[in-house]
């Protein structure tokens, strides 16, 4: 196994533990926004998509890269915005 793979595994396992521990008993009201926020975070794949798109290796790879950036950006931007909108509704508007 390569060094990079091993380090990746160590980092993955630790981060997964953090993910498990960080979510404690969440009130049902917050299930949807939390799901939506976590979903936006999984759009971190955008960083990978940028790397791929930037490399510009051939038409097909570029096209895939473009698609990847677009879809990932939809996920990120839409995800955080809609979560914010949902959470905004929980707050009483000042009259």
């Amino acid at each position: 196994m390569s060094e990079a793979l091993i380090i990746g595994i160590v980092v993955f396992v630790l981060a997964a533990f953090v993910g498990f521990e960080v979510i404690t008993k969440v009130p049902p009201t917050l299930h949807t926004p939390l799901m939506s926020g976590a979903n936006a975070i999984s759009g971190i794949t955008l960083v990978g998509a940028l790397a791929t798109a930037a490399a510009g290796a051939g038409a097909l790879a570029s096209f895939l890269g473009f698609l990847a950036v677009t879809t990932a950006t939809i996920n990120v931007v839409g995800g955080f915005m809609v979560t914010d909108r949902m959470l905004g509704m929980f707050r009483k508007k000042p009259k």
Binding site: L5, G19, A38, S42, I44, T71
Partner: protein
Amino acid sequence: MTELLYLLAAVLFILGLKRLGHPRSARSGNLLAATGMLLAVLVTLVDLQVVSWLVVIAGLAAGTGIGAMLAVRVQMTSMPELVAAFNGFGGAASALVALAETLRAGAETIPAETGVTAVLSVAVGAVTLSGSFIAFGKLQGILPGRPIGFGGTNALNAGLVGVAAVVATWAVIGGSMTPYWLLAAVALLVGILGVLPIGGADMPVVISLLNSCSGLAAAAAGFVISNSALIIGGALVGAAGLILTFQISEGMNRSLANVLFSKFGVGEGGGQAGDAAAVQRASVDDVAITLGYANSVIVVPGYGMAVAQAQHALHDVADALEARGVEVNYAIHPVAGRMPGHMNVLLAEADVPYEQLLDLDQSNPKFAQTDVVVVVGANDVVNPSARTDTSSPIYGMPILDVDRAKTVVVIKRSLSPGFAGIDNPLFYLDNTLMLFADAKEALEGLARSVVEV
């Protein structure tokens, strides 16, 4: 430096997730996570030797435009399906990253261990994509909400997973692009056939599980391109999403395996209406008198309130009653409506005070001492057969025991069943009055009449 900034972004994700779990801090948590994401993207753009700016900028612009438009435009009631759609896009992106990177590096030259992670990313990403869009379709009503499938669905799916495993092995050892494309196709099929047989009522669980998958796909893509931000962020969401999935299915009183493989609620879809002669009807004025002379009233809102957008009218009725000295509370069932928290959001929009919202455990002991319960467009969540009828598809689900109140008023348009497609014995009880009307119209009428009695 890049790595440390990625770490900072990951820390912001962690703190954001943590805060998202608590009512007071949730909104700031979302902002924190978004800040982390912005940081990660900026760092990447600065750090990269960008060859084709056009592709990058076009992609970012298109994605931002589409994402923002969808997020702003969509109706409150459609938010769950929107989350599903976004999630599908995320899965697609991870699969595409792995495909593009394999293509760029050359399928012949990448080492086997990178091949393994690429294959994982493609498969999990594609399942997330197709599964999420089937969920979207079911919630939007494009596809029928009831489970679709035949006897051998589970077996067929198991077979497809086997095929995917073979194709994946081929990809890792074969050294050509063909099996990668094939794998993506098979995985898309697995996602479709895996979600179709699940009833629409369980879609929140499915979406949450697919969300966890999209995290894993991102982490796998991170291994392919050796990027720690993807690995950490993906692992975080993969794990947190899994925990959340268990919590959501627990809130619906279902086990995860049961949700995924049991075709819950194979009801007739449409469902037949009950016997209208057997119920006691009441007019708006009858109900106004009953309410006006009560001491305590509990309102139980359901999906019908959301459809009719009757939350403001409901608040007006409550105000009128409170002006007469009647005590008014709201009992919120955890799965009332079509997404967790649906009722809370709508009532908050109508400025109903947070303190008046009671959850299941708070409200159930109160019904026996309550004069009138008003059920506004709710059905399954107040169906007593969940307590008594072992053959009912919702048997065992904790319900709001409204039948224990002195009088129950049910406001709905007909005797049609709700989401689960089953009849409701509550409607035929001696202490139940049926007010057949659109929720908004009925409540507007009530708000006027209550003042006059």
